[in-house]
Amino acid sequence: MIGASSHGVIGRWRRIIAVCAVLVLATACGNPLRGGAEGGDDGRIVIGASDVGESLLLAEIYAGALRGAGADDVTVRPPVGGREVLVQALQDRSLTLAPDYSGNLLRYFDQDTSATTSDEVYRELPRALPEGLEVLDQSPAENTDMLVVREELAAQGVRTISDLAPRCDRLVFGGPGQWGERWRREIRELYGCEFKEIRTTDTGGPVTVEALRSGEVQVANMFSTSASVYANGFVPLEDDRDMFPAQNIVPFAVEGSLSERERDALDRVSAALTTEKLTELNVEFSERKRNPADIADEFLAQARNR
């Protein structure tokens, strides 16, 4: 009895193995991530984005431009982390390209740089970048860090970071996790401002907005093209001693990974992008909640028709 049924069981077991083999094959063939780890030589282009909202929008614009220039295998990866993650991913070739900001990028590789204007920063960048990475033409569009406060504080005569400095020790600051490491020393040396506490909120996103709105923090780090600064009536403080360097948008890429035609397409896109235009696109993205790929398509169509 047992013997008979166990023979049947063996036959069935073969069937199980066959089913599993088919499943393995199916998942291997249907793998939507196939080759996802490699950006570079094979003509496959993987574009990354940081967790700054507009980064994804810029990545979609680059993707559209590259497809327009004949690249047929272009992927935009979900946004993740800060510059550290993107640099690492470009260096290990998980990514081909990512939008970045000239000033912070330079400062990331050269802590002691004194370059602050757009031209100075862009001139110094190639020298500072590690082997194998390059920047393409920078765009006139800029998105700088800025410190913002609520109207009540601004109404007390705080208009610049210098105005803020004497009060810093009573104020709680909110910004991205990496802010303290990047700017704490800088703002102390330049302005004599030492915040009572530096809290991690997020990178100019909803956590930061809510923290400032609720008074949990009194000063926050946000970005000049961000639609939510004005939507919430926050007041940006003038960086009167040029602590934050120029932040022109610049495609940051693996050297030699793009064809001449693809590079031209990105250069044209960068030239067409202005700070004003980018702020408009950001409103479409973060206020009107449109799909970034749709916004990118529209922008690219307009840019072509000009």
Partner: protein
């Protein structure tokens, strides 16, 4: 704008729909591939436990321990441990394979241990060597237990994949980070609904698969008719 309108606008974009399909496919792949690896690991653990009964306790403790590790913690540490790149989807696959195995090992060991002595003895008497006995007799008898574990693991994996969005690999999880960043309900709601649907469909498929694999467990036709009458 009401949520319905918002969903309409959101799904109205062809780009959005294309991205949703891609995210859904990626999600299914990231959740289900680990099931295969997890089953293989659990079958291996069962074999270890059957060959050396003294390691059963250790295997069970290790499995329990792995299962207590919070998902985000496991996701972020894996690239450092196995040397993959940080954005590689393999990180999520490895983490979920470990969870699946951890979930299956305990019931697997119990099921193998629960095979009646008479059955293993007859198999041995018929000339089955240990390996053939394990794969030919004990393992098939453990399939119902394994299948129950696989159902639990599949649902739990489908839920956990989303956390991968925090390390840049997350299938439908991308909708949650997007919705959060833009204070936008539509992608979050769509993401939750699609995740639940995926879990439901996969669970149904697994029930079907189990029925195919364990025909001896199907109720006899006459009895089933009785049950239907009773119901």
């Amino acid at each position: 704008m009401s949520l319905i309108d918002e969903l309409g606008t959101y799904l109205g974009s062809a780009n959005t729909r294309a991205q949703l399909w891609a995210a859904l496919a990626e999600h299914g792949y990231l959740a289900l591939l680990p099931i295969l690896f997890g089953v293989v690991l659990a079958v291996g653990a069962g074999w270890l436990g059957q060959t050396w009964p003294q390691v059963r306790g250790t295997l069970a403790v290790v499995a329990n321990l792995v299962y207590t590790i919070p998902s985000l913690a496991l996701f972020v540490v894996i690239p450092g441990v196995i040397g993959t790149t940080i954005l590689d989807s393999i990180n999520v696959v490895v983490a979920l394979s470990l969870y699946t195995a951890a979930l299956l090992v305990r019931p697997m060991l119990d099921a193998i241990a629960a095979v009646p002595q008479a059955v293993t003895a007859s198999a041995t008497a018929m000339g089955y060597r240990p390996a053939r006995r394990y794969f030919g007799v004990e393992l098939p008898l453990a399939v119902p237990v394994l299948a129950a574990g696989v159902r639990v693991a599949a649902v739990s994996n489908i839920s956990l994949v989303s956390v991968g969005a925090l390390i840049g690999v997350g299938g439908l999880g991308r909708l949650f980070t997007d919705g959060f960043q833009r204070e936008y309900y539509a992608p979050i709601v769509v993401g939750v609904v699609l995740t639940l649907l995926l879990a439901l469909v996969v669970d149904l498929l697994l029930v079907l698969l189990r029925r195919v694999l364990t025909p001896w467990q199907r109720p006899a036709p006459t009895r089933r008719a009785d049950e239907e009458v009773a119901a």
